[in-house]
Symmetry: D2
Subunit: 207 residues, 4 copies
Amino acid sequence: MDRDWPTFLLPYEQAVNELKIKFRALRKEFVEKGEHTPIEFVTGRVKPVASIKEKMRRRVIDPALLEEDMQDIAGVRVQCQFVEDIYDVVGLIRERSDMHIVEERDYVTNDKPSGYRSYHVVIEYPVQMAEGEKKILAEVQIRTLAMNFWATIEHSLSYKYPKAFPEEINDRLKRAAEAAFMLDKEMSAIREEIQDAQVMYNTNRGQ
Amino acid sequence: MDRDWPTFLLPYEQAVNELKIKFRALRKEFVEKGEHTPIEFVTGRVKPVASIKEKMRRRVIDPALLEEDMQDIAGVRVQCQFVEDIYDVVGLIRERSDMHIVEERDYVTNDKPSGYRSYHVVIEYPVQMAEGEKKILAEVQIRTLAMNFWATIEHSLSYKYPKAFPEEINDRLKRAAEAAFMLDKEMSAIREEIQDAQVMYNTNRGQ
Amino acid sequence: MDRDWPTFLLPYEQAVNELKIKFRALRKEFVEKGEHTPIEFVTGRVKPVASIKEKMRRRVIDPALLEEDMQDIAGVRVQCQFVEDIYDVVGLIRERSDMHIVEERDYVTNDKPSGYRSYHVVIEYPVQMAEGEKKILAEVQIRTLAMNFWATIEHSLSYKYPKAFPEEINDRLKRAAEAAFMLDKEMSAIREEIQDAQVMYNTNRGQ
Amino acid sequence: MDRDWPTFLLPYEQAVNELKIKFRALRKEFVEKGEHTPIEFVTGRVKPVASIKEKMRRRVIDPALLEEDMQDIAGVRVQCQFVEDIYDVVGLIRERSDMHIVEERDYVTNDKPSGYRSYHVVIEYPVQMAEGEKKILAEVQIRTLAMNFWATIEHSLSYKYPKAFPEEINDRLKRAAEAAFMLDKEMSAIREEIQDAQVMYNTNRGQ
């Protein structure tokens, strides 16, 4: 028998909405104070039911354990300008008392064989429902704009080649990953210059 | 010397944004389950700086005690269809673990001499800022649509007649308050009928 | 065979989004200038597919003529503070060059036997799609807050009693309609006072 | 004497809001149909008053000719996944009947000496105000994500070094521009693969 999905997903939707608001508020706070913001964009989504079911099959997840075993039903993505910002965002999450980190995976320092780079933080997040509090898991992915660009492409391709990429595609993806990595590196190199400049920019803007 | 108002107001803005999201999520939960929702509209605002200053003068509030003594810098308004819903919303707030009630004022049962009716709940609400948690006060006003209609009018008039209303205006406002009150009473009388009907309506809509 | 509803509804969704933005911009313009705004709230919705199908059956609408014969697939509702504002909003629509009025129904002056009051304007509205312009019909309902309150209730009840209301319910609804009407009348009576006051209020707020 | 800026900027704000809604609707249309969307993100802003004044001084713009001579008071930015998408977006703008192109500047084919790449389209756009129609100018900037990344950085730096960049910074910016350009080139190379894959992805997602 199938689950009542809309009801099951309600606390996840609520969590995504609250988390988006909260990370965007952090960004606003930095901008308002004229400081460099480690947060550039914040997006979020609840995993579509079709994708949840597909992942349950692929990972052989027991329906009774869905809430504990699938950590990314609620997903938030934070995009940063610089690689260094990623670690600042992780630091901000660690200090908060409204969410609790249960796992961290650093694919920035240790990129996946595919070339994927990103920092994943799984949090436990309490949501207040009409009948009381409910704790759910959510995944926060933190990446630079260049990392995100690459990951979006790779994600799309994996739908075309569900088993493995043909060698030629694989080579091109690697080169694209290198170009993205190089862009991030060049950017970090002029980072201090840029940060000084941005503070001036935001300060002037407020006048 | 003047305060840095934009920075001072940041946590209040954040609180209002989060609270709006949270009360709207409650509404969505009831609708999704096909139950009558006690919450019809949710709005919110941060008190404009000019109004804060004016109220400080009028109430002789010590600037050093502004955060404790002015409870409505962050304000959220919940509008309900029925008078009975007001008490359900208060009950929902009492049960939440993400906000703490510090004061309740029931102007529904005990309307002000002016005819004003509304239920006020002052809460303490923790906001996570870049440098850590900050607890602020916020006022939640809960009223029916008819009460809100009347209150909006009365609020506007008080700007024209800051001292006292002329007798004629006063008489008319009283009659309007009675008409609003009668509308609420008639509505309560057919409330059970309506609630049964709305559950059917929402259930059918989901098909 | 069933229609591809999501694709069919795309231009209607787009129209509703644009119209909401446009009527809210009008409101903002009045407020910004410190003038009384005839527009208090703007909401909008695309008719759910189930409701479209039900109405096609009930009104015996030929599927090939759906776009011309069902005028409220895209619906926008403008709520006003005063009865007089309704006619100002109609005037504003008549002057616009981005929409064209094809029909007007004044249920304010001539309320329906049920007690329903509202002003309906059916417009032809051009939407730019990827393959070019598409003209669709949309219905704009203009009413006071009190009229809206009553109509919402009546709409819910009609789901419970699809044929006809029991006499008792009918009597109560009539009394509620009278209370709503009286509230509107009282409000109009102090309208000029209120309008002067609101201009002062908005002007002061801008300081 | 200073201009009444809030009133002056009202039609520009309205234009930006409408244009954002309209370009996002195009994106939605492609996604809904399971086709590759040439539009990835849409953002918009009205130029802050301080920036308008600064540009008037720098470009010696006659205040009486501000509306005609400053074309980017209303600005919309469309970000694309592929360089090829940029020209598709320009094509979509050319076909619309709700805006009229008055100028095009192709800095994609002909990048500026600084390394800046982007496609600028200046449009004339009619806005319906309370007193009637008003035609304003707006600038639409169309660029890939990589172009946008680079441009954001360059824009920030220009606040630090308003006259000219030091040679070292200039060299680094050039290298960053090359890295961004390479990323775009690699992406175009696997574009067809990606587009096929994305259509499949969007189609599956709808299930």
